[in-house]
């Protein structure tokens, strides 16, 4: 399905926020599926145009006060930080989080794959009467979702869904609508109904694929890390215990753009967090915050159904590509 063709209006009547009785059965079912994944009730879900907007609104709707954001979060969250919290080289939060403040800490980092212990952080944060926001985009469908957070934002594209932002706001959380039309009464008006249905279907499909191929992709992750250690001077970011399908590494003395092109010539689509690949010539803030080499960076987000021979070939061509680009 392609993007929204227009606004969803439920045949001219507004949905009843509490029961979704005005909604079609497929929409109701989809909201239920999504809420089950997130461990909330359908009434605690809100849908907006895209992931970045969901991240923005999540923090913007909380009561005024300090916002402590981990240094590897999305820029939409860091832009609202009163304080940026440092992380370890493997991407784990270092602070003890003992203030009655709002914390924003993502579950799985979309760039380096490191995972945070969200539930144990939530317990600590709640003990000091703080509040936890979590970006849950990248672990959904792969790992059992944490539940201790107070509000969460999700980019549906992370699990192969459409351009859609999802907000999950626990009813206990004091959050008020930063946009006049985001109240429960109007909440579906921001997006096309079909996108919500499509997102739920995508998450279901992604979950079955991830379940089926998790071990295989984990093995690829281990093999790729081992190969990177074998080829001299490759700095692998993230955490070997992180989510298996997100792997980022930097090749010393190589240019990120050249690496991306070289992999493309072999049929592999990879991204890069190097400055030469960014519009503002700044390197990825995630690589900087974790102290990684920023040039020669390659970022892989591996589909769980990527064929075995293609994964094997990636590892096989890696040394040759690295050598070629370093000497180019």
């Amino acid at each position: 399905m392609t993007g929204p063709s227009g606004r969803f209006t439920l045949g001219g009547t507004l949905p009843d926020a509490q029961s979704l009785t005005g909604a079609t059965s497929s929409l109701r079912l989809s909201c239920q599926e999504l809420s089950t994944h997130l461990g909330v009730s359908p009434q605690e879900l809100y849908f907006v145009g895209d992931g970045p907007l969901a991240h923005t609104l999540a923090l913007a709707g909380l009561p005024a006060g300090p916002r402590q954001v981990s240094a590897i979060e999305r820029v939409e969250l860091l832009a609202q930080a009163s304080e940026t919290l440092p992380v370890s080289p493997r991407g784990h939060l270092l602070e003890s989080a003992t203030e009655a403040s709002t914390y924003s800490l993502g579950w799985v980092n979309g760039e380096i794959g490191s995972t945070q212990e969200i539930d144990s952080w939530a317990a600590r944060i709640h003990q000091s009467e703080g509040l936890l926001h979590s970006d849950l985009s990248y672990g959904l469908g792969v790992l059992p979702a944490p539940t201790g957070w107070d509000l969460a934002s999700i980019d549906a594209r992370a699990f192969g869904g459409p351009t859609l932002g999802i907000l999950a706001i626990k009813s206990r959380t004091r959050w008020s609508d930063p946009l006049p039309t985001l109240s429960p009464r109007y909440r579906q008006l921001h997006v096309d109904e079909r996108l919500i249905v499509e997102a739920a279907a995508a998450l279901g499909a992604y979950e079955s694929l991830a379940k089926k191929h998790y071990e295989r992709i984990s093995e690829f992750n281990r093999d790729l890390r081992a190969k990177c250690a074998e080829v001299a001077h490759i700095d692998v970011a993230g955490d070997p215990a992180g989510i298996p399908h997100i792997i980022t590494f930097s090749v010393l003395y190589a240019q990120g753009e050249e690496l991306v092109r070289a992999f493309a010539r072999e049929g592999f689509v990879v991204a890069s967090g190097s400055a030469c690949m960014s519009t503002n010539l700044e390197p990825s803030h995630v690589l900087v915050a974790t102290g990684r080499l920023t040039h020669g960076n390659v970022r892989l987000i591996v589909p769980y159904d990527e064929p075995a021979d293609s994964l094997a070939r990636f590892i096989e061509v890696l040394p040759r590509i690295v050598e070629g680009v370093r000497q180019a």
């Binding site: 400055a275 390197p283 020669g296 370093r326």
Partner: protein, 89 residues
């Protein structure tokens, strides 16, 4: 801090060229001595740190310098990590 044995300016060069220049030119400095590199590449700071960690040299300090920064690194090892790489620096 003692005066650097060698001072290089990589202003105008973008990643990975500043670090590549540093890797080449540090070989002109005796082990235990310091090289200073000036760069206006926003990626140079994190990269010089990471490069020193990966190659075993010691990152000593960084300071503001004109439009960019000046980095001080002490040479620790004899290995020539740049052999086989393009000429030009």
């Amino acid at each position: 801090m003692s005066t650097p044995a060698l001072e290089i300016d990589t202003s105008g060069l973008r990643c990975p060229l500043p670090v590549l220049a540093l890797a080449r030119r540090i070989l002109e400095v005796p082990i235990g001595e310091t090289i200073a590199m000036t760069s206006d590449d926003p990626a140079a700071g994190p990269d010089v740190h990471a490069w020193a960690r990966m190659t075993g040299h010691t990152f000593l300090a960084e300071e503001e310098s004109g439009n960019g920064k000046r980095f001080l690194v002490r040479r620790e090892t004899t290995q020539d990590l740049t052999s086989g790489l393009p000429e030009g620096f």
